[in-house]
Amino acid sequence: MSEIETRKGWMSLLARAPADRLEQLWQGAGLAPAFAWLRAPEVGGVMVRGRMGGTGQPFNLGEMTVTRCALRLEGGAVGHGYVQGRDKAHAERAALCDALMQTDAATDLREAVLAPLAAEMAESRAARARKAAATKVDFFTMVRGED
């Protein structure tokens, strides 16, 4: 996987992560790097688009709330946080993780924060898929006609 693909992967994971769980794991990792804001956290909206008929031309569906920020670690690594919702602490954690993932701390951070987050989110998604699977219809045909 290219560097960009890998970074996309963790940024996307951090954006969707439940904020309180990320906070817990972050505290557990015991990291407190010094940093300076490049852009303090701000809450805004993103217009979500759909496609006509699922495949056609785009149209505007409605907005969603997003919080973003950018920061620089003392070592110089720049981290960006774009997260769903209005939680500024969530955006800050995401940006810190993004920055640290570009440093020597990456392996530890992945193990302490990203891997458990990914596993838990995959499991909750899988649990919903299993419940959906249990509501799948098994058709059977009754015997028709007369003897």
């Binding site: 996307s12 909206g45 993103v46 006509m52 409605g62 419940k131 249990a134």
Partner: protein
């Protein structure tokens, strides 16, 4: 005519204080938390997000609490909040073909690849009040069966292979945005869909029902209805690549409609499309039916003069915030307006009475 008048401030303050007290209700009953509304009134939250045109379950739940459960008032609060948000950009169009479906049914193909998945539906319930819910009750865990991770293809894709259904060619035009420029007619389909997806559920339902009853009849099958989550991806300019910025729940409905052909189009099936925030299937089906009815011009169909074919009628009356704003303003003071009407009626009456007495005298 409006004339500024002073006074009423104390009455207004006291009315608001009483409103707050009434909102809380009997303090012997525990207060409702925003999280409880978000989790247990999820379909109301979904409706407020869809018509408020802002996906944020926490905010929608707060709005419902503040509005004492008046959903149109809650939608109003969300719309007002929405206008305060700086716009970071627009997402890439969501890929509904890659939706993680919790419900997916087709009324046209029994053995659709991916299967008929019912999900947490009210369908097949007996609509009898469940008095167990009035008592505290533990809910047994929903059964699970192993799920094979597989993409669930769109049903219309199969019909497309045989050329039996009108194509929906992809494109990347920037769609018009009615939150930025006022709605002007004739509206393209992109603008109609934006207007319908945030339109009032009751209004869109009524319009859709009218097409089923014969006004702009275009017999619709639900080709597919799916509910589930999709990732939202956005290009981040400072990064130079796109990332997922979140995940939202959507309901998508594709209708397949009979079409005998027109001057420009061969006989084939045509499509109506509904896509709405949250689990909102009544709204998504309604949207698809009204979308199809409004497409009469581009498909070269007859204008039968039905309300659902009248784009001005549908689009200008679908927005419940515009509607309620104009409707409810008439209860605000119109003292001067009414004074002039009163004088007019008095003068006309006086003239009429004078004429009657003149005739009697002659």
């Amino acid at each position: 005519m409006y004339v500024a008048v002073k006074g009423g401030e104390r009455a207004i303050d006291n009315a608001h204080a009483w409103l707050a007290e009434e909102r809380r209700g009997d303090t012997a009953v525990p207060e409702l938390s925003v999280a409880q509304i978000r989790e247990q009134m999820a379909l109301a939250v979904n409706r407020v997000m869809a018509e408020g045109s802002l996906y944020d379950p926490e905010l929608a739940a707060l709005a419902i609490k503040q509005a004492r459960g008046d959903l149109i008032e809650a939608i109003f609060l969300i719309r007002a909040y929405r206008t305060t948000l700086p716009r970071f950009g627009a997402s890439a169009p969501v890929e509904t073909a890659r939706m993680a479906c919790l419900r997916r049914i087709s009324a046209t193909f029994k053995d659709a690849p991916g299967g008929q998945v019912l999900g947490p539906t009210f369908d097949y319930t007996h609509r009898l009040l469940d008095f167990k819910l009035a008592a505290d009750g533990e809910v047994p865990a929903a059964p699970e069966t192993p799920a094979a991770p597989a993409e669930v293809p769109h049903i219309t894709g199969f019909l497309n292979r045989d050329g039996l259904i009108q194509e929906e060619p992809a494109g990347d035009d920037t769609p018009p945005d009615l939150t930025r420029e006022p709605l002007e007619l004739p509206a393209g389909r992109a603008l109609r869909l934006q207007s319908l997806t945030r339109g009032d559920e009751g209004f869109v339902l009524g319009m859709a029902y009218s097409t089923q009853r014969g006004y702009a009849r275009n017999h619709a099958f639900v080709g597919e209805l799916r509910i589930g989550t999709v990732a939202v991806e956005m290009e981040i300019p400072e990064l130079g690549f796109a990332i997922e910025i979140g995940e939202i729940e959507l309901t998508e409905c594709e209708t397949v409609n009979q079409f005998t052909g027109s001057k420009t189009e061969p006989p084939q099936f045509t499509r109506g499309y509904g896509l709405v925030f949250g689990q909102t299937e009544r709204k998504a089906i309604s949207m698809a039916l009204v979308d199809r009815a409004l497409r009469w011009k581009e498909l070269g169909e007859e204008d039968s003069g039905a309300p659902a074919q009248d784009e001005e009628f549908v689009l200008y009356h679908a927005d419940n915030i515009q509607a309620t704003g104009f409707l409810e303003h008439i209860k605000l003071p119109h003292y001067v307006d009414f004074q002039s009407e009163l004088e007019l009626v008095r003068r006309i009456r006086a003239e009429a009475e004078a004429a009657t007495s003149r005739e009697a005298a002659e």
